[in-house]
Structure formats: C-alpha cells, structure tokens
C-alpha cells in the first residue's frame, strides 16, 4: 500500500482548516460569553481568586446522613456577601457519595475564609480538615504566569526555527513551525469547545502541555524531513512531490508505532491517573494526534507546494511540468 499524500493535499488542508475554524469560532463565542470572557475558559491560575474545597468528615456518627443541599450552601455564601460565587457539590471519587463542596469566588482573605468555613460547617456538618483544599491566586500572579508561558512558547519556536534552518534549510523550518501552529491551534480550539460545552478549564499545566506538543510535533516532522533530505542528497533530480511521498511512506510505520506507543502511556494516565493530570493527558492526546497528522499531511505537502512553486535548485524546471500525482 502506498499513500500519495500530495495527490489529495487539498483534502488534508480542508480537514485541518475545518477543525481549526471550528476552534476559532468557539474561541470567539467564549470571548463574547460573559462568564468566560476569554478564548478558553481560564482557571484560577490565570484570573486569580480563591477556590475552596471542603469535604465532610464521615467517620463522625451522623455527620453525613443528610445529603448536602446546594441551596443551603448558596444561602450561606450569600449571607457572607459571596452571592456571585460558583458553587458545586463534588462526589468522592472512591465512594461516589456527594460529601464535598467546591466554591470558587473572588479573592478572600484569611478571616473571610474562616467565617465562610465555620458558617458552612454549622449548616452541613463538620469538615475533615485533612481533606480541605485551598487555592488563592492574586490577579497579577496569574497574568505573569500567562505571559511567561506565552514567552516560553515564542522563544522555543524561535529556537526551533534557528536549529532547523541550521540543520535543514530555512523553508523546512518555516513549514515545521506552520505545522506547530496547526497543532497548538487545534488543541486550543478543542479545549475552547470543551470549555463551552463541559466547562473544562485550562490551567498552567495546559501551557506545559502546549509546549510538550511543540517538542513532540517537531520531532515527528523532523523524522520525515530527515528522509526527504536523505533522498534529495542521493537523487536531487527527482520531482519533489515524489520524494516527499516516498519519505512519508517510508516513515509511516514509524509514525504510527511511535504515536501508538506514546498514546498507550497517555491513555493510561488519562483513564487511571490522578485527577490533576487528566486534562493534561487529554491535551497531549489531542496535540500529539494533531502533531502526527500535521507532520504527515501538512508540513510535507506545504513543503512540496512551496518547492514546486519556487523551484528547488537549479535543476528544477522539470518539477513545474510534472503533475504531482504522476509520481509513483
């Protein structure tokens, strides 16, 4: 079986564009949404605020007999002047019993927090101190985190361009970065949709995930480029479309196997790993899939198009005249 990727390249581009477009539309909708006000639903990490999680101590007799009534919790919060907080009842992972309360609100100081906790435990039962969780992030800190993440992303892009231009050629580097943007955009777009539909939030780990995707996606692209470079060296007169098609096919088994083995670990984390890592693993699963796809179908086809248009070296009058689909 041989895959002639250059034959139907407009199809591959259409698929990618459609997914990216859906993501961008979702980002615009999110931006307009008064409760989100950002392209992706940001977590506490980026906007600041306080998140409190309490869990009832069920070892005490009678403490957990009544289920927690979310309206009572709302009333308590309102009485403390925190009426606009988001409040959720959370179920225990092990038992499924709904004994936890999650409150996200504006920045609370120590006293406000203690007041809230005391008022709540009066109404719903004693909390297990061991399981309390508190996160407070100042608004400036969140912004700094975001900026440093974006700067890290840009710096790594620049570093990759320099390295690839040095090892390959400048146009290779540019298309590798195009593929990277593709992967990052798809991942961000899907998370934007998830944020709209399921309320999935992006936290600082999401930025880590994007950066990891960057590293891996370039890796995939480089493997194919490496093949193109090798074949070009041996046979510089072949039409570029043929060379690229061959390179993709020769590395296809590797691309599939590597993606598959990485996915095995990621799915394991996604399904059975700790709560904190679930979304992280999901972002990587999406990003790596997009990365494998983009290196095969996007970076290589774009490189082909570019080289066909511009002529690769002095030899290439023929490349213009040859139909890309003719190569076999």
């Amino acid at each position: 079986m041989k895959l002639s990727i250059n034959k139907s390249r407009s199809l591959w581009w259409a698929i990618s564009s459609a997914i990216i477009l859906a993501g961008i539309i979702s980002m615009v909708i999110s931006w307009q949404n008064p409760t989100i006000k950002a392209p992706l639903r940001p977590s506490l990490d980026f906007v600041g605020g306080t998140r409190l999680q309490f869990e009832r101590d069920c070892t005490k007799p009678g403490n957990c007999d009544q289920p927690i009534d979310i309206n009572i919790v709302r009333e308590v919060a309102k009485a403390q002047g925190l009426g606009d907080s988001s409040i959720q009842i959370v179920a225990d992972k092990g038992t499924g019993a709904e004994n936890g309360i999650l409150i996200r609100t504006k920045n609370l100081d120590r006293e406000q927090r203690i007041n809230l906790q005391n008022a709540l435990s009066e109404k719903v039962g004693t909390f297990d101190e061991q399981k309390n969780q508190l996160d407070t992030v100042g608004p400036t800190l969140g912004r700094e985190l975001f900026t440093s993440g974006v700067i890290a992303l840009i710096v790594s892009f620049a570093g990759i361009i320099v390295y690839l231009s040095f090892r390959f050629q400048f146009d290779y580097a540019v298309f590798a970065i195009v593929a990277l943007f593709h992967d990052v955009l798809i991942t961000a777009g899907i998370f934007s949709i998830l944020g709209l539909v399921l309320g999935t939030e992006v936290d600082s780990l999401f930025i880590v995930a994007l950066l990891t995707i960057t590293g891996f996606s370039v890796n995939d692209t480089v493997v194919i480029y490496d093949r193109i470079r090798e074949t070009l060296k041996i046979n510089p007169n072949r039409p570029i479309a043929d060379i690229v098609d061959d390179a993709v096919n020769q590395t296809l088994a590797r691309s599939i196997n590597t993606t598959l083995t990485t996915m095995l670990s990621l799915f394991a984390i996604f399904l059975f790993g700790g709560e904190t890592l679930k979304n992280f693993a999901l972002a990587l699963i999406i990003g790596f899939t997009a990365g494998a796809y983009s290196s095969i179908f996007i970076a290589s086809t774009l490189l082909t198009l570019w080289r066909e248009r511009n002529g690769q070296t002095s030899v290439v009058v023929s490349a213009e005249s040859i139909d890309p689909s003719a190569g076999n």
């Binding site: 100042g138 993440g149 690839l164 950066l211 590293g215 992280f280």
Partner: protein, 471 residues
C-alpha cells in the same frame, strides 16, 4: 569486538551504579505529592523603596525565614523567585492559616535597652535558648514533628522571657531609622564585623541609647519580630557622648557567614516594604497520596503495554529494546536522584513522556533495519545501517525537544520547571541508551548463532533473502 565488550562492561557498571544510587539517595517528593501548603509572597515596592532589588529581596527572605522557623514546621522550603517574590513551602501543613498570620505585614526591627540588674538573667536565658535551638535542629534532622512543635513552644516562651528584660527607648529606635547594615572583614584577625548606619534621627536616638548603656555591662537588644538577634555591649569610652555620628560597628567573633547573616537580617528588618501573600495553594495529604499512587500505577501500566507491543511487533529487537528501556528507566531515575530533582506530578508526566521518546528512538532504528533487510542486505549490514541512518533523525528530534525544554525551564516557574527538567534529562539519557545500549545488545545478539535468523528481526521476508543471509 573489543569495543563491544568494553561497552557492555560500561553498561553493566552503570546499571550497578544506578541501582546503588537509587537505593541510597531517595528522591524528594514535591508538595503536590506529599501534601502541604505553598505560599507565594509578593514584596511590594513602597514610597521609600520604589524598586525591589536582589539585596532587598534577600533581606526580606531572611525576615520570612525567621517568621517561618518560629512556626515549628518541619522541613520548610523558603526561596526567592524572580525579582520580587518569595516562595514558602510548608510540607504537611494543611491549613496555612498560622503561616498567613505571621507572614503578612512589615518586619519589626527595634533596638532596645536592657533593663538594669538583669545581666545574670539574660545570660541564663540566652544559654537556655541556645540549647533549645540546638535541640530544634536535632528534631528537624530526625523529622520528629511532635518534638518540633513542643520545643517551639519552649523557644517562644524563652524568647518572650528575654524580650521582657529589655525596654524600648523613647521614641522607639525602630528599623525605619536604620539605613544600612552589612558584614565586613576586620583588619587584624580573621573575624568579621557588622557595620550599621542610621539616618540622622536614628543616629541621635542611637547616641542617646548607647550613652545610657556604655560601661554598664547592660546590652543593646536588637530585636527582629520580637526575637533577640544580637545583644552587643557598649564600651565605657562612649559613656560621655554615646556612639555619635550615626554609624557603629558590632564586633564579636563573627565568621564571615554569621556577620553576613546578621547584616542581611538587619537590612531585611529595616525595610519599610510591606509583604503581601499573592498566592496560596494547599493540597491535602491524602489527596496527594491519591494522585501519586494512581499516576504511578498508570505510568507502570502504560509502560508494560509498550513493552509488550514492542516484543510482538518487533520480535527480537523489540525484546532488546525492552531491556534497553528498563536500563533507561533505571539510569534516568538515578540521574534524578543524583541531581536532587524534586518529583512533582508534572515531573512524573515528563518522565513518562521521555519514555515515549526513548521508545521512538528504538522504533526509528528498527524500522530502518527492517527496510534494509527488505532491500536484501545481510543481517549484520542491516542492523549497522539501521543504527547509522536513524541517528540523524533521533538527534534532530531530541535536540528540538531539548530546545523547547530549555525555554520552559528558563522562563517557566514552579511546576513548569519541574516538568521541563525531567523531560530534558529523560531525553538526554534516552539518546545514550537507544544508541549505546540497544546497539551493543543488538550486536551481541547477532553473534549468537541461534539468534542469527533474519525472521527474528522482520517477518515475511522474501525467501531469496533468507537463503542469502543464512551461513
């Protein structure tokens, strides 16, 4: 052959060394895995100090350290982050309420006068406090939590008792009058001094204070957050005028370290910069345990599947790759231990991902070997060119990943850094194991006649090929 053998010995030595390292040096767990709280303190510029410099931050850190140590928490971590932040980690502290209470607000530095006829008492209190402090150090080392808390109460009482022996001047000579303080070497001996300098008003107050104390045998009490940090005496020659001019030197048998510490403490205490808690994160201890165990199981599960897949798909080379991967895991873990990497949840993720990279290197090599076999080359030649040809893509791929990691490490903070570090280390080690370990083991395998069968390397080879290769 000779080279092969020495590489094999090198690998064996490394494995043994790695196992020893893993057995002797435990990898410390990050706060997210062991439970505890993390507070980020933002140092705010004020009218007097419009710009926070490293020197000032160092001073504030000292103050924070003093306050945290006063809490009696075992193994607190206090470090400066960036230009204006201090990170405080309190493992095992579930409710950082106490820490919040002591951390907010500006440091209180004050120079006080010792009350008359308290010299013997002060001496006794100070030596008992020194004993308590030494004991505290021991408790910290043995991680005896109950001991630390109990001892801390005694220390608090002792500090209180000492504080009662001193009285404030009128008006109090507080930190805002202190302009500078720093350790400096003396000319005569190896000892160090601490030079202090007051502003004009402070100089006047200090002259008054020293005039009263000179030659009496009573001390100046230098208090930081109500704890006596230094009790110098004033020599008799200053009895007439006091130490005038606003500058003074605290002598004593200070080492360079001690003198600098005291200087930094004084500077920090004098800073009129308010500190504000910008971020608090707590992870309950049980919650930490939940995620570590499930993440580790997930990691091991995923890895096992990968190992099985490799054997089924790549046969003999797959088996060899599995051995190389296990060696890889050992070496990477040992590297973490040696470099003192603190393991966090993203750190574990980075490690698991780097295993993915290590697998990729092997996959690249074996795919290449297969291609060469299918092209009709002999087994030995195929294996050799498999490694040779795959090298450039492994190198380029890994270098780009390391570039991304470097950007993350330098620009990211906290968890992001941990992730970048483990991934980069993992990738670096994987270059070594994929190329050296897999290669050596592979060449070892094809010297064994029973294993020298192309079909163990690649299924469905054309028959002509087999005949050609079989000896």
């Amino acid at each position: 052959m000779q080279r092969q053998r020495s590489l094999l010995i090198l690998i064996l030595v490394l494995i043994i060394a790695a196992i020893t390292v893993i057995a002797t040096i435990p990898i410390p767990l990050g706060l997210d895995l062991r439970g505890g709280s993390q507070l980020t303190i933002q140092v705010k510029p004020s009218a007097e100090i419009p710009q926070i410099t490293e020197r000032e931050l160092e001073g504030v850190k000292k103050v924070v350290e003093g306050r945290i140590n006063g809490l009696g928490v075992s193994e607190p971590v206090i470090q400066t982050v960036g230009t204006d932040k201090i990170l405080v980690q309190l493992p095992g502290v579930n409710d950082p309420e106490q820490a919040e209470r002591v951390l907010g607000g500006t440091a209180q530095l004050e120079f006080r006068t010792q009350k008359p006829n308290t010299e013997t008492q002060l001496f006794a209190f100070q030596s008992s406090r020194a004993e308590l402090k030494a004991k505290q150090e021991e408790f910290r080392k043995s991680k005896d939590k109950a001991g630390i808390v109990k001892n801390q109460e005694d220390l608090q009482k002792s500090n209180q008792a000492i504080a009662e022996l001193f009285g404030s001047t009128n008006p109090p000579l507080v930190g805002k009058y202190l302009k500078d303080a720093s350790g400096q070497p003396t000319q005569q001996s190896n000892n160090w001094n601490v030079a202090i300098r007051f502003d004009q008003k402070g100089g006047e107050l200090f002259a008054e204070l020293t005039k009263n104390l000179a030659g009496t045998g009573r001390s100046i009490g230098v208090f930081l957050d109500n704890e006596l940090i230094s009790a110098p005496n004033v020599p008799i020659e200053f009895a007439a005028t006091g130490i005038a001019g606003g500058s003074a030197i605290i002598t004593g048998r200070f080492t360079a370290q001690q003198a600098n510490d005291l200087g930094v403490q004084l500077r920090g205490g004098a800073l009129p910069v308010p500190v504000e808690i910008a971020e608090i994160r707590t992870v309950g201890a049980t919650l930490g345990k939940d995620s570590i165990t499930s993440s580790i199981y997930a990691g091991i599960g995923g890895l096992t599947l990968v190992l099985i897949f490799m054997v089924i798909y790549y046969r003999l080379p797959g088996l060899i790759a599995d051995v190389a991967l296990l060696i890889y895991a050992l070496l990477t873990w040992a590297t973490f231990a040696l470099l003192g990497v603190t393991l966090t949840l993203p750190g574990i993720a980075g490690f698991i991902l780097s295993i993915g990279m290590a697998v990729d290197a092997n996959v690249l090599i074996f795919e290449r070997t297969r291609e060469e076999l299918q092209a009709g080359k002999s087994l030995y030649r195929s294996v050799e060119s498999g490694f040779y040809r795959a090298f450039s893509s492994i190198l380029d791929g890994n270098v780009t990943t390391i570039i991304a990691c470097a950007a993350l490490f330098w620009l990211g903070a906290g968890l992001v850094k941990g992730f970048a570090l483990t991934l980069a280390l993992g990738v670096a080690v994987s270059m070594f194991t994929a190329i050296t370990c897999s290669r050596t083991l592979m060449f070892l395998a094809i010297t064994i006649p029973a294993l020298k069968k192309p079909e163990l390397f690649c299924p469905n080879l054309p028959t002509s090929n087999k005949a050609e290769v079989a000896p």
